[in-house]
Structures are given as structure tokens and as C-alpha cells.
Amino acid sequence: MFFYYLDLAWRSIKKTPFLSLLMVLAISIGIGITITTLNVYKMASINPAGERSSQLFALRLMSQDNDTWERLTPQITYQDAYNLRKSTIPVRQTAMFRTGLAVQTEDPNFSPILEGVRVIDSDFFGLFEVPFVYGGPWDKQVDSEGGYKVVISEEINQKAFGGVNSVGKSILLNRKPYQVVGVTAQWNPSPKYYDVNNGAFNDSEQIFVPFSLAPIEEYESWGNNNSWRHEDIRTYSDKLASEMHWNQYWVELDTPAKQQEYQEWLSRYVEQQQRLGRFKHPEAHGDISDVDKWLKEHNVVPEDNKVLVGLSVLFLVVCLVNMLGLLLAKFLKRAPEVGVRRAIGASRLQIFSQHIVEVGVIGFCGGALGLLWAWGALYVLSSKFDLEQSLAQLDQSMWLIAPMIAVSAAIIAGLYPAWRICSTNPSIYLKSQ
């Protein structure tokens, strides 16, 4: 019967091409806009940590004085980062910040490039599951003792070494030689959840150097340096000893028990620091947030996006109401034919199904066309506004979501007209006048 209904639907659509086009257009534009905004929203709100989301925690400390900042900030001081590294509870942990260094090779013809560099501990790679092409992280020993080791990305490896296995070779960062220990494969989580300071959707750093080198090499911070009090900071060691918040800190805690244990450890740390005269805020405490909570708290999805999704859903509703009206008109005009079918032995359910199938076909066409609109809109918007690549590409799931929303929305719009037509008394349409 379904194919019979499909056939009838197709005939009906062909019979009123203008009206059908109008309906397909209406629903496709509604779907197009909804999918466009939904896509941007979805890509922005994706949780890149996946299954590990609930095991990875961003750490924050309320180390400020009373009457300064009222809230936790996403970063901590260097001295706290340094102290926290001593805990043995986390499975993995890393302190980090972003800097920039001039990259050269031993080849004098290689013109220097300035690259964003992430200063990290070796656990970073395991914690965030960074894939390697060659080699791996540096030894844990380097994290405590220091050492001129570096991990570079495939891209840098291509630029500097022509793509060959460069493990063991050396690369110049600010004219200092660093030994390459690993080359990472393409890795660019979006949103860039591990550091929301520098824009959540920009690219990952391509070079990674040990955090233990920071006091020696005096890496500048390429991110926010926030102070809650005025401090006279003239040298790098002033900065390291200051109350300035400029480091990020992540821990991996795989079980609730560990999380509990670490929380307690943190409380003791805060108490200890209070005895030393720091952490004077009455609400001074340490906080760990898993990736989900972290993304939400930092409003990685811009509010504009939410407004747009809301408005576009309303827009879709308008399109559906529009379609509902047109369907009602169209179906009621067909009442005589339905009367005949009813007389001939079609049950209400059969008439209802016939019309719902027709509406579904219109919805499906609308969904397909809408997907096309969405693709076009994203293309135009991303080329005009230079959107981040990760936001502008049509998510694969949309190929399924768009027709599903379209068909179900159309069917919802079609329910009332189909019910009206199947419940009208057929006999009144059978007399010829």
C-alpha cells in the first residue's frame, strides 16, 4: 500500500506544481535555516574529549584576596602550578601556558617563522590523547630536571625536515637547539577546550616544549595575564613569584574515589597556603571541573548562537503553519475524490495514511532542498566571514537530521489537514452539484 500512496502523492504533487513547490520551498527554507544554525551550534558545542570527558578536569584556585575578583578564573599562578605538580594522586597532570618562539633549522636558507608554542609537562600528550607519527613524549625526568626536548607537529616536521622521521634531530627555537623526541599526527580538538584563553576555536599549537624550561628560558606568556592586585613585576622571576594568574592546569582522575581523594588533597593545599598568608578570600577553595562543565562555564557556545537556533526554530514553525494552511486548502479541495475513495471502501486510516505519505514526500523533498540551502549558506557565510573551518563544515549527522526533522515536521503540520480530510463525511461530496 505504501508504494501506492507514494504513487498517489507524486501524482498529486505533479497536479498542483505551484502549490507543491511553495510548500517544498517553505519547508526547505525553514529546514535550511534551522540546519545552518543548528550546525554551527552543534559544532561549537561538541565535546572533543568524548568518553574521557568525565575523567579530565580543569583545575582552578580561588587564590585572590577578598574584595578583588569575586569568582574563579580559568587560570592559576605559576607558584600554585609548581606546587600542584607534586601531588601523586592524578593519573596524569600537566601545567601549561601558551608562548611563541622563532623557529629555525640548521639550514641557513630556512627563513625563521614565528610559531605558537605550548609549554607543557609530558603527561599532556597522554592526557589529551595526542597521536604520534614518530617518537613520543619526552621522559618524565625532563619534567623535573629540565632538558631541551621538543615535540613538533607533522606540519612543522614537513616545513623543517621535509616530512622525514626527525626524531633525534635538532631544531632551533629562539636560536637554542632542542632535540626532537616526537612528531604528532594531525590533532586539532575543536573547541580547543584545554585552553579557552586564546579563543576557543583557533588552531592548536604546533610545537610543545617542557614546562620545566620556563624559569630558564623565560618564555613569554601569549595569553591573558590577570592580576588582582598591583605588583611591581620587572623580571621573569618576579612574574614566577607573583600572584598573577597565567597558567592552566589539567588533571586526569579516572575514578570517583580518586576525584574525592584529590578534592581533599586540594582542600589541604588551600589550608596550607592560608597558613602561609595567601588565599585570603573567605570562599577560597580549589575546584576541578570535567570537560563538559568546563565548556559550559566558559560559554564556548556564543549566546548569539543560541538566539539564532531559537529564532530559526520559530522560523521553522512559521514555515510549518504556512504549510499547514496550504495543505488544508489543498486537501479540502480534494474532498470529492476522497469521498469516492471512501465509498469504494477506503477506511479512514487508509485515507489518513495516503495523505500523511504525501505530506511526508513533500517534507522529504523540503529536507533535501533545505540541506542544500544549509550547505550553501554555510559556504557563503564561511567565505564571507572567514569562519573557523570547524564551524563551517556541514556535520555528517545533518544528512540524517535534516530529512528527519523535515519529514517529522511536515507530518506534524499534515496531521490536522489529514485528519480533517479523513474525518469528513464522504456522502456530501458524492452528489454531483
Binding site: 517553505a26 535555516i33 613569554e220 598591583h230 549566546e303 530559526s312 514555515c319 488544508l328 486548502a329 564571507k384
Partner: protein
């Protein structure tokens, strides 16, 4: 002549059609009013003047990674090299680029003692030399510029003089002249800085921050490994300078990276990108929504006419003029539009309030729903008038034919 009562009673009888139109118009008004409100709000944000000759100014970064480099003398040499290049009108080292979304900002206080200390509002800071005003193309309206020998090269702790924007001066001191006032960092007495000039307008780097208009210039030529430089040149000369500046700097010392060369106009496009995107998407939505609403309306009217062919014929037979038929449909449309508009307007205000509460949007002004309803009236007139005219052509004889 305009029989409103019979139209109303007819609308009441054939419920579903008009109700659907009504719902559609209500929703359209609610959406369009809020969307166009957000659009105008964003457009007015984008049209704020920065006070800067945006298309003639560009920035560049010099990163010196030579170990033995002396930042102070290197910086002085670099700025000399750039100023001597052909086409460069003015140049200065700067702590930040206007409208770039990143840079320096701070709070100052003033007063005579700890007790009467007043904290002034947060302000974006431009550390730079006596050419800052000429480079950005600012208009000095009170006091004076720095003298060249007042500008010190080194770290931010050398600061002693300020040129503030009028907005900052007014917010801090009201109508009182700011010239000669002394500002401190944090505690009173801490690093005093005297205000010597006022510029008419100077925006900072963060367009969504309320400190935007409070820009100020500080008499320090920052010298570090990483320096930002602002250059003013004729628009036509900028392309050539993109090549000439790195070449000249590398000639002097190859151990550095020179990059950037983004004009303030380009920064403006980038920094307002999200707003422009929002405005564009919403405009698209408004246009499409109105299109769909009017197409839907036209479709409905056409069907109504087909359904009422006989009735229209009867009316014609009873002496209705063509004009009467058209006005019948128009009045019907206006009734639905105005009812829908009033309800839609109320919902729009409500929706606006929800949005305001949820997403910190400003309050919807009544103008927008009213304008939307007016626009819909005009648009639907067109949507109705064509099918209605077709209806008016129906022959009175239709009424007498039975099949």
C-alpha cells in the same frame, strides 16, 4: 461600503484557515520584530567611529630573537628605519592595535590620600611616542601632545604623562578640565601620571567591552623582544611597504621575524565579524520570513477564491463591482493582519524580555513590532491584491451554472 461585519462573521465560521494565517502572522511579527531589533542594535554597534584613520593605518610585529640584542637601542633603530622609508607618514611603537581584540587595559585612581581615593573606570592603554596622535590620525582638542624628549624608551614602569580621550575625561572628571590631573596605579602615590592632553575620540581594542571609548596614550616607547608597531601611510603605499619594511629590517638584523601588516579597517572587519554575521543571518531570516509569509498568504487567498468562485459570482450577479470584490479580500486580510499584529506584538515584547533575561540582550523597543506590522500590511496587500483582482474577473454567470 466596506462590510466588516459580514467579513468577520464569515471568518468566524471558517475557523481553521484564518486561524492559521493569524498564527503565522503572530509568529512572524514576533520573530521579525526581535530580529530587526537585534540587527539595528548590531549595525549601530558597528557604525561607532573609532576616531582613527582606519584605512591608512596598519600594524606589524617585530620579534627579535637575537640573544645579544639590546631592546632599547634596537627599538629606537627599528622605528627610525621605518620612519625613513618612503611613503611612511608616521609610525610609533604601540602596546596595542585598535579594534584588534587584544592588548592592554588598566584601572587608575586619583585623589590626595588613601581616604579620598577615587577609582576611575577601566581604560585601554596605548603606550607610544609623540607620533601616536599623527599615526592614528587623532584630533587633539585640549592641552598638548608629548614633546619628543618626554617620551622614554623601555618598560611600562617609565610612564609619567597621559593623553586621554574625551570620553574618559568626561566619565572621570565630568565637565572639569582634566589637564593637569594626576592619576595613580592602584594606591595613591603609586606611579603618578599627569594628564597633559585630550583627544576627541580614541577607541580601544575590545569592541564588546564598555571601556571601548576610554582610550588613553602613555608616554612610553615600549622596548622588548616582541614589539608592535603602528604605521600610517597612504592607502596606495601600503602594499609596497609590506615588502619594503621587512626587507629594511632584515637588512639591519636578520635574526628576527617580521609579520602582521593588517590595516585597522581589516581589524575592524575581523573584530566585528560576529556582529556582522549575526546581522547578516538575521537579515536573511527576516527577508525569507516575509517572503514565505506573503507567499503563503497569496496561496491561501488563491484557494479561498477558488473555493468561493460561486459565491463571488453570486455577489457579482447581485451587483457587486470589481472594486468591491477586491476590497472584500483586502479588508479580510487587514483584519487578520491587525489582529495577528497586535497579538504578535505582545508576544514579541514577551519574547524580547525572555531573550533579554536569557542572553543579556537589550530591551525590545515598541517601534519594532509596530514597524513590522506596518510592513506586513503593505506586503500582504500585494500578496492579496493580485489573486483578488483575478477573483474580481469572475463572471457573474458562474453563479447560475451548476456544475
Amino acid at each position: 461600503m466596506l462590510q466588516i461585519r459580514p467579513i468577520i462573521s464569515m471568518l468566524m465560521r471558517s475557523k481553521s484557515g484564518p486561524i492559521l494565517l493569524l498564527v503565522q502572522i503572530i509568529l512572524s511579527v514576533a520573530i521579525v520584530a526581535n530580529a530587526s531589533f537585534i540587527i539595528t542594535e548590531r549595525v549601530s554597534l558597528m557604525s561607532r567611529e573609532s576616531g582613527i584613520a582606519e584605512s591608512e593605518v596598519f600594524d606589524l610585529d617585530i620579534y627579535n630573537f637575537d640573544d645579544g640584542m639590546d631592546p632599547v637601542s634596537q627599538t629606537k633603530r627599528d622605528i627610525e628605519i621605518i620612519r625613513n622609508l618612503e611613503g611612511v607618514k608616521a609610525a610609533t611603537v604601540s602596546s596595542m592595535t585598535p579594534l584588534s581584540g587584544g592588548g592592554w587595559a588598566s584601572n587608575f585612581s586619583y585623589g590626595t590620600s588613601k581616604e579620598d581615593r577615587v577609582d576611575a573606570a577601566n581604560a585601554p592603554l596605548y603606550y607610544g611616542d609623540e607620533q601616536m596622535i599623527a599615526t592614528l590620525g587623532l584630533k587633539l582638542i585640549e592641552g598638548r601632545n608629548f614633546y619628543p624628549d618626554e617620551v622614554l624608551t623601555g618598560g611600562s614602569e617609565l610612564a609619567s604623562l597621559l593623553i586621554v580621550s574625551k570620553a574618559y575625561a568626561q566619565e572621570t572628571f565630568g565637565d572639569e578640565s582634566p589637564i593637569g590631573k594626576v592619576m595613580y596605579r592602584g594606591e595613591i602615590g603609586n606611579q603618578p601620571m599627569k594628564i597633559i592632553g585630550v583627544v576627541e575620540r580614541l577607541q580601544g581594542a575590545w569592541v564588546d567591552n564598555n571601556n571601548l571609548e576610554r582610550g588613553m596614550i602613555i608616554n612610553v616607547e615600549l622596548a622588548a623582544a616582541f614589539n608592535r608597531i603602528l604605521v600610517r601611510a597612504d592607502e596606495e603605499a601600503i602594499v609596497g611597504l609590506k615588502e619594503a619594511i621587512p626587507a629594511a629590517l632584515h637588512k639591519e638584523n636578520p635574526n628576527r621575524v617580521v609579520r602582521g601588516f593588517t590595516t585597522i579597517s581589516e581589524h575592524r572587519n575581523i573584530v566585528y565579524r560576529d556582529h556582522e554575521l549575526m546581522a547578516t543571518v538575521l537579515s536573511m531570516m527576516v527577508v525569507l520570513l516575509l517572503l514565505i509569509t506573503s507567499l503563503g498568504l497569496a496561496g491561501m487567498v488563491m484557494f479561498n477564491i477558488e473555493r468561493r468562485t460561486k459565491q463571488i459570482g453570486t455577489r457579482r450577479a447581485l451587483g457587486a463591482k470589481k472594486r468591491d470584490i477586491v476590497s472584500f479580500f483586502l479588508v479580510e486580510n487587514y483584519l487578520i493582519c491587525i489582529t495577528g499584529g497586535v497579538i504578535g506584538g505582545l508576544i514579541a515584547v514577551q519574547l524580547g524580555q525572555q531573550l533579554m533575561a536569557l542572553y543579556s540582550l537589550p530591551k525590545l523597543e515598541l517601534f519594532y513590532p509596530i514597524a513590522t506590522v506596518a510592513g506586513l500590511l503593505v506586503l500582504t496587500t500585494f500578496a492579496v491584491i493580485f489573486p483578488a483582482q483575478k477573483a474580481a474577473k469572475i463572471s457573474p454567470a458562474t453563479a447560475t451554472r451548476s456544475v
